[in-house]
Symmetry: C2
């Protein structure tokens, strides 16, 4: 029977190495070595490198949702809900730099583009919370009337950029700065009060 310990050692090693060195800086042989496993053993658990990479990403996404949904109350005002999700997400990225780096590697690769295409064309399953939030916001005239995709970009573009800069050491985010950044994202998304130039 396949040994569950081996599998998780492979997963751990792969995640660490890929997050730090990118897909091309993490050969299977190196992953095997860091997992204290023979090179061939990996192929007992994952059909090939592509499958390993994609599987790792799915794991990551599934571990992410509970974190940001913890304490989320969908009956609160739009703004409050957005701030909750945004800060939770940014905080999570900062606390799990390995996950974040892996996520970035994945997004900026052919795998990621394919994934995203499926998501957007397939009605964005998985992003339900955010989609609901934005659609709710639009219908209540609290959020700008823009295509969903653009609202996503306005919200996640800065969050990802800020997280990256924190992890690379270009800024040092504390709790205050996190809040102020997400509030700024909200300002970008929300309908501006009329009369204010």
């Amino acid at each position: 029977m396949p040994n569950i310990d081996k599998r998780s050692e492979i997963v751990r090693a792969a995640r660490e190495l890929i997050a730090e060195n990118g897909f091309h800086g993490a050969p299977m042989s190196m992953i095997a070595a860091h997992a204290n496993v023979g090179a061939g053993t990996i192929y007992r658990y994952f059909e090939n490198k592509d499958v390993l990479i994609t599987e790792l990403y799915k794991d990551l996404e599934e571990r992410m949702y509970p974190v940001i949904l913890k304490g989320y109350a969908s009956d609160r005002p739009i703004r409050e809900r957005f701030l909750h999700l945004g800060t939770a997400l940014l905080r999570h990225f900062i606390e799990s730099p390995l996950d974040f780096r892996y996520l970035e590697q994945f997004h900026n690769s052919p795998y990621g583009t394919e994934f995203r295409r499926d998501k957007i064309l397939g009605k964005m399953e998985g992003c339900d919370v955010f989609r609901d939030l934005f659609e709710d916001g639009i219908s209540r005239q609290v959020v700008k009337e823009l295509p969903l995709v653009i609202l996503f970009d306005l919200a996640f573009g800065p969050i990802l950029a800020v997280a990256r800069d924190h992890i690379l050491g270009f800024v040092m985010l504390d709790e205050l700065l996190i809040t102020r950044t997400i509030e700024a994202c909200w300002d970008g998304i929300k309908r501006q009060a009329p009369g204010t130039l």
Copy 2:
């Protein structure tokens, strides 16, 4: 004497292939083939692949500045200046998808991180226009008092994300949507009028 035609054929082929397939999807042999040139010929013009890649990026950046600075008047109000630069940048990305894709490839690679580190630690030479604009905005209390890096992320994060989504066909940006997107970026950056929740 080296043939200038050959050189520019190599540059064109490299830009196209790398923009479309990424650094690892554009082997030197393929670049040579698309440039109708022998594999060794590239090395008469560029020391190695790294040099080729970096040179291409510098070209790209230098071609970009005149475009977004055209018609820029640094004596206009902060908001107007930001909208000018932002829309010009987004428009340029959309009109030159090849350049944009190359820029993304470069940014999301070790080359790009190194480049960015140098820029940020080295006082951001080259981003002078934006830095001046943000600093000016802060001192006039028109822009939020946040670290420069975060202001950059709030502005460029969405612009890059939106440009990518347009090029991948996830949204179809027209002139109106471009303006509204950049206005939304400005809303994120500007100090909000007090009293507006």
